[in-house]
């Protein structure tokens, strides 16, 4: 009898546990949250609709937005340095923070065409940054290549206050470019294996 009781109790426990897991799974079924940048975009639009801005506000916004494009570049350069240093773990962290910063890019001040270009760029770049945050270093470098193109295209629209050098290594994946704040070539695709492979291709600003 005692044995029976025990059996029933344990079975009950198992049931409760299982339903708990099932519920968790159920929640995960809900549609994924929309991309953070889209949400941000919406709230920005709302703000614009609600109150027309005076010149001071516009100035402030402009500054904020510049800071954000700069913030993306800052994060990008940090990530690049981690790859130069062959630091997989650090690149993971920095990929994650770059993805967050990218999502916060304020594009409200740009023309419609620029806005849609920037949206495409950010959407793509976020995905690459997220992949970088969860990959081994070889894979991180593959994504960094396309990410670099995205960031370069972004800078072509947003501009930047600082001089940026576009550098190019003909050996990696049929030729790959990246951005750097310094003229000195330090290759993020090869790191210590071939640190100085590449040349300055272009000076931006």
């Amino acid at each position: 009898m005692k044995m029976m009781k025990q059996n029933v109790m344990i079975a009950g426990l198992a049931l409760v546990l299982l339903s708990a897991t099932a519920c968790k799974d159920g929640n995960k079924n809900e549609p994924a949250a929309p991309m953070s940048n889209e949400m941000h975009q919406e709230s920005m639009d709302d703000m614009m609709d609600d109150k027309p801005m005076n010149e001071d506000d516009e100035m402030a916004m402009n500054n904020g937005q510049d800071a954000k494009a700069e913030a993306i570049l800052t994060d990008y350069f940090k990530l690049k340095d981690a790859l130069v240093a062959d630091d997989n773990a650090k690149a993971k962290e920095l990929g994650a923070s770059l993805a967050t910063t990218l999502g916060k890019l304020d594009i409200s001040e740009y023309t419609d065409t620029q806005q849609s270009d920037l949206k495409d760029i950010v959407e793509d770049a976020v995905e690459h940054a997220e992949h970088i945050s969860e990959s081994d270093i070889a894979h991180q470098r593959e994504h960094f290549k396309v990410l670099s193109k995205d960031v370069t295209d972004m800078v072509a629209i947003t501009g930047t206050e600082n001089t940026v050098y576009q550098q190019f290594c003909p050996m990696y994946d049929g030729g790959s470019a990246w951005l750097s704040t310094s003229k000195d070539v330090k290759n993020p695709y090869y790191g210590s294996k071939m640190l100085t492979c590449g040349k300055v291709q272009k000076e931006i600003n």
Binding site: N7, I10, A11, A14
Partner: protein
């Protein structure tokens, strides 16, 4: 001995009970206009390869063999498919911007070339999903032309 018996009973009960949990099968009735096959002129051979080797996890319609409807296999699969669709959903191809299509094509080409896709855990059971040398080449060539057209 007693303990073993108890454990066996619990396992059996649990196994039966979990069969009754509702499952969301990845089997959408509609094919969106944005599907890869609808917006591209995909050669028949390539189309077949993609349907058999990719669409189970990278579209809104999975062909489940019966044993995949048994729990807990079905749960494991559900997460798997969700992840696959988040990375790439052929049904939603045309909703991607050109830039993203380019990125997706790049990854498709890379991963098929490296043999990372289709996944080993998938081809282990779905033997027909293994791409032969010719099929692989045809798919890769087609994806490369698509990518070149975008650039």
């Amino acid at each position: 001995m007693k303990v073993l018996k108890i454990i066996a009973w619990i396992a059996l009960i649990a196994f039966v009970v979990i069969q009754f949990f509702p499952m969301d099968y990845n089997q959408s009735e509609t094919l969106p206009q944005t599907d890869f096959m609808l917006v591209n002129k995909v050669p028949a051979t390539v189309e077949k390869s993609l349907q058999v080797s990719c669409y189970d996890c990278h579209s809104n319609y999975t062909k489940y063999p019966w044993y995949n409807k048994v729990q807990p296999v079905a749960w494991f699969l559900e997460d798997h498919i969700k992840e696959g669709k988040a990375e790439l959903n052929f049904n939603e191809w045309d909703t991607y911007s050109d830039r993203r299509k380019n990125s997706k094509l790049r990854s498709i080409i890379k991963q098929i070339e490296n043999g990372q896709m289709p996944l080993d855990s998938y081809t282990l059971i779905h033997r027909d999903a293994i791409l032969s040398k010719e099929e692989k080449e045809a798919v890769l060539n087609y994806m490369k032309t698509l990518k070149d057209d975008l650039e």
